[in-house]
Amino acid sequence: MSAAPDLVIGVLLPDMLGTYSDAGNAVVLAQRARWRGINAGILRITADTSPPAGCNIYLLGGGEDTAQLYAIEWLARHRALRHALSETAVTFAVCAGLQILGSTLTDMHGRCHAGLGLLDLTTAPRKRRAVGEVITRSALPQIGLLTGFENHRGATALGAGVSPLGEVLLGVGNGAAQQGRRPGRKSSSAGPSSSRAIEGAVTDRVVATYLHGPVLARNPALADHILSRVVGREFPDSHPPDVPDLQDLRRGYLSPTPQRRARFRTLLRTR
């Protein structure tokens, strides 16, 4: 039989937080690791199990409100896992996963719930649900444009302890500004960019985003970034494994519908 995997990807609560097919992100990470000769395995960690704390990567997906509150309580209860998320592993969180890791979460009835407190961010409901295609320019190096689909009702305000994953060129993103950062930080070159909407949250242990699609299938560079954090080195081949339809996929999503294309071009020109 095959040896124990060198890299273990734990999908947390797929029975509750799988609304937007987020387990696809695990498939992408595992395959891209295997294509580079790393023996990777996926572990589904359901609510009725005692969660292992030794995974290299943990994934948290999107979910409905009830499931979200249950997930916070469940993660807080399993202390070894919580410790792994904050100290040893790399965590990739999508949508509800992002909100769960924050410090507070206000529900539709105005009640404020404590989050897991791993990310310095707070989430409150928006007036309207944000639904549609998103394009961001990633703040992480070597990643470029990110494409994904957002579908959330949260407005997430980042605190000073996290950085955004990207700035929004199309769509809503976090739907709130970052607190404690003054606009015009990059004033000399980027002018209007400081007032631009931001998306996601990043720390040295966590990458979190509202984008699904699944986002790592649409953006393999982000998948490789997460893998390189675990492996401890960059992959020399920036897009090595041949995914034949990927160029077409990205071209399709990165050149939006005609009415939006004009606006998108303007945004690109300001860079």
Partner: protein, 419 residues
Amino acid sequence: MPVAVRVGRAAGWVSRRLGIGAGVVIGGRVTLALAPSALSRLAAGRQVVLVSGTNGKTTTSHLLAAALRTAGRVAHNATGANMPDGAVAALAADRDAPMAVLEIDELHLAAVAAAVDPAVVVLLNLSRDQLDRGSEVRAVASVLAGALAAHPRTVAVVNADDPMVVWAASQSTRASTVWVSTGGRWNGDATSCPRCGTTLRRGVNVVGSADGDLWRCRCGLARPVPEWVAAEAAAVTSDGLEIPVGLRLPGRFNMGNAVTAMAAAAQLGIEPRRAAAAMSQLPDVAGRYTIVTYRGRKLRLLLAKNPAGWAEMLGLLDEPRPLLVVVNAREPDGRDTSWLWDVPFEELTGRPVVAAGEHAADLGVRLTYAGIEHVTAADPLAAIALLPTGDVDVVANYTAFHGLRRRLIAETAGAEATT
């Protein structure tokens, strides 16, 4: 009244243009607002059965209509126009039919039920479908629960194997609920309890129940004991009857649909054996499962709209024949293609596959990560030529299916005209 329908459609168009909503919802609402009595006037004095749920509405309503026609005329929205204006059109098309079978979109069930005062409501299942419309599965279950609660005397025929619809039906005190074990395969949305959120335990032996997919939660929500069970090729009732059911439609899930239709028909006095005989004649369902000959090869056309439906359709592909998969992402399909990653495409190993449709690239990327060799061609008819010779299975989602079917009908008719 037609004016009201037209104004409703216009409102739907405005809604879509402004990006406020999906259009269909507001369109139906405006129609009903302008002519609130249209549906109730058309339904008055008839026995109406409403069929709702994520998957199987069209097939179940066709099976049920076939069963009821053994007793008289039946008005039926046979093309799957399952919004309130579709219901109005079906009832208006046959004003003398004493019975009506209407498949109804889950979010419109309450409004339609309020208008038609149904004799029977059939709830099939609930799973993820077009989430970019902003409806979460549990929220839809709450809407269905409200619809049933407003009609306590209506008989509810409910899938006992689907925790979501069981939860919806259990929230009101009912004169009569008929539980049917359909043996559903997909449970990706229902592994946590819809009532309390904790993990559902499955495989628990519930004393006194028939065989089936048993489940129970510690909060008390549990699989009810079914009166009807869909077996391999028969309906088994709790009073010991076993009625053979031989369908021309393929698949275990269609046995579930048929037994559900039998249970509903029985409420209107149709003897189960007579229902089974009538249902066994149904060759296809609004083009689904049809076999079309195109350029000398037979194509079997299968429609799937969401992960649960895809799992069912891929399960039908028993022979390793060449396969054409077609995926669009227009509004009726849902704009978000994430669901592709919940479809077990890994099962397709060992057969030639072509990925086609307006979102062929998304499908192609998914297939590559699933380890499935394939070629990609956006145009589905051009894609067929890329497959090795032999008969072809086609699985397509909603607009892809109807677009391809229209073109096949046009091409086939053209070929006949020239020969």
